[in-house]
Amino acid sequence: MPSLGADMEAGTLAEWLVAPGDRVKRGDIVAVVETQKGAIEIEIFEGGTVERLEAEIGQKLPVGAPLALIRGAGEAASEMTPAPAAPKPAAATVPEPAAPRLVEATVSATGVAASPAARALAAERGVDLFKLAGTGPSGAIVLTDVEAAGPATRAAETAAIPERPTDPRAEMRKAIAAAMAKSKREIPHYYLFHRIDLQAATDWLAARNAARPPEERLLMGALIAKATALAALGAKAVNGHYTEEGFRQADAVHLGLAVSLRGGGLIAPAIRNAHALSLDGMMAAMRDVVARARAGRLRSSEMTDGTLTLSSLGEKGVEAMAGIIYPPQVALVAFGTPMPDAVPHGDEVAVRETVTVSLAADHRASDGRIGAKFLAEIDRQLQHPEEL
């Protein structure tokens, strides 16, 4: 059972997507685990052949407990090590599976995509998710699909998850509470605020979107994310992880995007290599993680890879926010709601679109001067939207 965040203590196995005898390679999705933050797809750390499934569907396991045994390439059966919790190097040759392929569990090649609320109701009513057709994003099963399925067809052993949290929203709140309390307990935060003139970016975006159909339009959020990622790449001591060994700077920006879930809760999946994405690529990545965050189909690496978090209040929020860092990260950038304001422009006062950006940073990793340079660089990037 991998740790999927600073706040996670245990997870409940919801699905196996592999069976004994299956070949797997690094990055394959092998299982779905139900956590306080919803269902997460578990990627495997190393390749090999699935020897044995250790965990049963519905079983709640502490972080670190083995889920399955993977026989690495060239490894004899006696050398088996637990995976995915303990990665180990693989040898050169790939043997045929020693035993005949054995498929016991009811598994699907693609698994079942379902929102956390849909999973909870399905478990409560004994509805088999495998038998439903989803109408949500990418065919994900959503609450109304389970409701439409009516009461219990309790038959399939795959559906019953005994230790399931009774209220997903309350569980999500507990997870947020644990992570944020840990952050405020351990991280000496300092905060900086800076007002950015967003008129150039606003004008550029409006002109660009006017010539494009809705499917190809960009949101200001994509410009903000790209500007933040580019600035973070060049900044010192705001992008990375702080662990027992101290601060370790990351050499790429995996930007955690705080996604609020309607009905309550927050999750911040990472957009990998955000600094290297084009604006269209950033927009596609944001669309993808937001849809999957809401459908309950994020991947384990997205839960743990973030090196810096970006939180935006969006169009209908307030001026500014002082955020709380998501450990083991060392900084969080928060954008308030862009709004027109009377500001100095040249020698005059003009009404311009403005936004207030804030930085919450870990004083163990950086000082205010470094944080200030970082925010100033985000500002500079946003003055040249055509170069983003």
């Binding site: 929102s115 959503v142 006017a210 809705p214 949101l219 200001m220 969006g314």
Partner: protein, 82 residues
């Protein structure tokens, strides 16, 4: 498309974009952002879905005109007739 068909298409697009909303719960004057809590990404996805369903390409400047169902249906009917 009749106004009823446009309304149905709009509701279908809306519940597709926000699967946790139920068509029965959406009132004619519910505001997309203030009442239904759609964010800018949801609104963009809705506009894209409406483009696909009705052929109407809604420019950003017109987004306020689809803010509620009561506003959106006549707006879409007008644009489709043009």
């Amino acid at each position: 498309m009749t106004e009823d068909e446009i309304r149905a298409a709009h509701l279908a697009a809306l519940t597709d974009v926000a699967p946790d909303l139920s068509a029965d719960d959406i009132g004619p004057d519910d505001h997309l952002q203030d009442d239904l809590e759609l964010d800018s990404m949801d609104v963009l996805n809705l506009v894209a879905a409406l483009h696909k369903a009705t052929g109407v390409d809604i420019p950003e400047a017109d987004y306020p005109q689809i803010a509620t169902l009561r506003l959106a249906v006549p707006y879409l009917a007008r644009r489709m007739a043009a």
